[in-house]
């Protein structure tokens, strides 16, 4: 019942964002061929308008777009005559996905380690050290960190390629730059979650019964502390998603984020519309999966509850 309700909300959200995006895109005065109208014969411009359905009244355009969307067709790109939005996304997705997943893994693995180490050394040197790293990670934006990484690791020390895409070495610097802030957030989150869990009665019970420290930490501490961290993966993915816009731009990576930013500059509305919906859909589906698995992992939260 809860899953069904949550699923419906998800569909409604995607519909709302589609409609919203559509209205915003079409509220702009003029059309994408305004500049072509001066140089091209009128018939050609008319033909182009017809091709992109721009000659139809708005409600019809909207319904056509929804109909195409239902069959997962995001329409043609205006800027690129040969590729439509679907191929653009298909071309960019592997790079973006690889980058995003690597960054997610780095952020979660190192974030958890940092958080656990800090919590187990509460108010000790290691605690201050890891939290110092975490606060710096949150403070320095990725678009400041990325140029610095390029300057030192690629140019001055020549360890890794400067930019562009190809071998695995190319993915290291962008993944690190993308992962830093989420890593720091995970570390802080894990630390406070872990501190709270280690104060629970069942930890004391386990200790009193003679369970070894390592056993307590792994079996009772980390397992329970992880649960609230799971709920954080959704916002984390959102963070990584928008992070790819600047990272792919700085490192000249041919991913969706770069296409998205380029399409903003070219005012290529079908691409903006299509990528926005694609990004939103990915995010909304992730939030949905995270929410459901969170409830499955923690038996204390009932799936039927109202979802506070």
């Amino acid at each position: 019942m809860y899953i069904l309700k949550r699923f419906l909300t998800m569909i409604v959200t995607i519909w709302v964002i589609t409609t919203l995006t559509f209205i915003i895109m079409h509220s702009i005065p003029g059309d994408p061929f305004a500049s072509d109208a001066d140089v091209l014969p009128e018939e050609v411009v008319e033909n182009m308008r017809e091709k992109y359905n721009l000659d139809q009244p708005l409600p019809v355009q909207y319904l056509l777009y929804l109909k195409n969307l239902a069959t997962l067709d995001l329409g043609p790109s205006i800027e690129s005559k040969t590729r439509d939005v679907n191929t653009l996304i298909a071309d960019g997705f592997p790079a973006s996905a690889l980058l995003g997943i690597q960054a997610l893994v780095i952020a979660i693995v190192f974030g958890l380690i940092l958080g656990i180490v800090a919590a187990l050394n509460h108010n000790g040197l290691l605690d201050y050290l890891s939290m110092g790293v975490a606060i710096i990670g949150i403070s320095v934006p990725s678009f400041i960190l990325a140029p610095l990484l390029i300057k030192y690791f690629a140019v001055d020390w020549g360890l890794l390629p400067v930019a562009s895409w190809g071998s695995w070495e190319h993915t290291v610097l962008p993944s690190v730059a993308l992962a830093t802030a989420p890593l720091a957030i995970v570390a802080r989150f894990m630390r406070s979650s872990m501190l709270e869990v280690m104060n629970q009665d069942y930890i004391k019970t386990a200790d009193a019964k003679g369970v070894s420290t390592i056993g307590i930490v792994i079996k009772h501490g980390i397992r329970n502390a992880l649960i609230p961290v799971i709920s954080f993966i959704g916002p984390l993915v959102a963070f990584l998603l928008t992070g790819t816009f600047v990272i792919e731009k700085i490192f000249a990576i041919p991913g969706i984020g770069k296409y998205f930013v380029d399409s903003i500059f070219n005012r290529d509305f079908p691409v903006i519309l299509g990528t926005t919906i694609f990004f939103s859909a990915i995010l909304i589906v992730t939030l949905f999966i995270v929410d459901i698995s969170y409830r499955l992992v923690d038996p204390r939260i009932k799936l039927s509850s109202k979802g506070e």
């Binding site: 998800m10 409604v12 702009i28 606060i135 403070s139 390029i150 903003i264 909304i284």
Partner: protein
Amino acid sequence: MIEQRNEEDLFHPVDHNRFKQNEIVRPSIGQFRETVTNILRNKLAVLGMFILVIITFFAIFGPNMVPYSYSDQNLEAKNLAPSVEHWFGTDALGRDMWARTWYGARISLTIGIAAALIDLVMGLVVGGISGYMAGRGKLGDRIDGFLMRIVEILYGIPYLLVVILLLVVMKPGLWTIILALSITGWVGMARIVRGQILQLKEQEYVTAAQKLGTSHGKIIWRHLFPNMIGIIIVNLTFTIPNAIFAESFLSFIGLGVQAPIASWGTMANDALGVILTGQWWRLFFPGFLISLTMFAFNVFGDGLQDALDPQSSD
């Protein structure tokens, strides 16, 4: 005669002040003082506060300390390293980096604070109505449900994407950014306020106040609001840096304030091309100041959170 005198002694006018004593109001100065003492004990939070004061000071007076404006170009003085003439050096158009950096601080802080305040007001109104109406009959539940559906849907929409979309179609400028940031930014605050109110209104002192016939307005103002101030302020100290970050992020991808107006994000973007030529000051000053501001707000917010939390007194 004597009996009559006794009767007069038995009945005398009731002292109005006795009812005043029954009015229960929490002494507000106590918690405030406690918070201040707590936060002063936290060295990192004090450092954050100190940094914020200094950055604000230079944001206000910094641009006027030098004889250049943020947009003055001087092609004979381009790409100069920091010197006595140009404290932070100059950029590719010979513009003074000191003037631009602190002018950028003005923009960033204005956007951060304005967006956070709009979020606060919207969040208080929507979250407050929603939380207070919940469980008050059919109509109340409907209002709460309706507002929460809106919040739920907005919450599921990626924040920066909406902002980017709005900025693509709106005329670029300071207020456009503030508006775009606050259109979906209030949702988080509304959720927090609603959660707080739902929790607080079940407390015994609120029930007691209701049974004594206190008006709704007074319950909200005297009992609910003062008990939420802490969480609201803490949330503000995290909303402001988020807005500042969003602004520099947007400016960095070219959707923020437009040239020649300076912002830390646009300055960092301008510096991208020259990072390899050794002109370190182009990236260092805006980059360092964004980071420093984020750092200061974060440690101050953390300190405030700890200071307001009675459980973390150790």
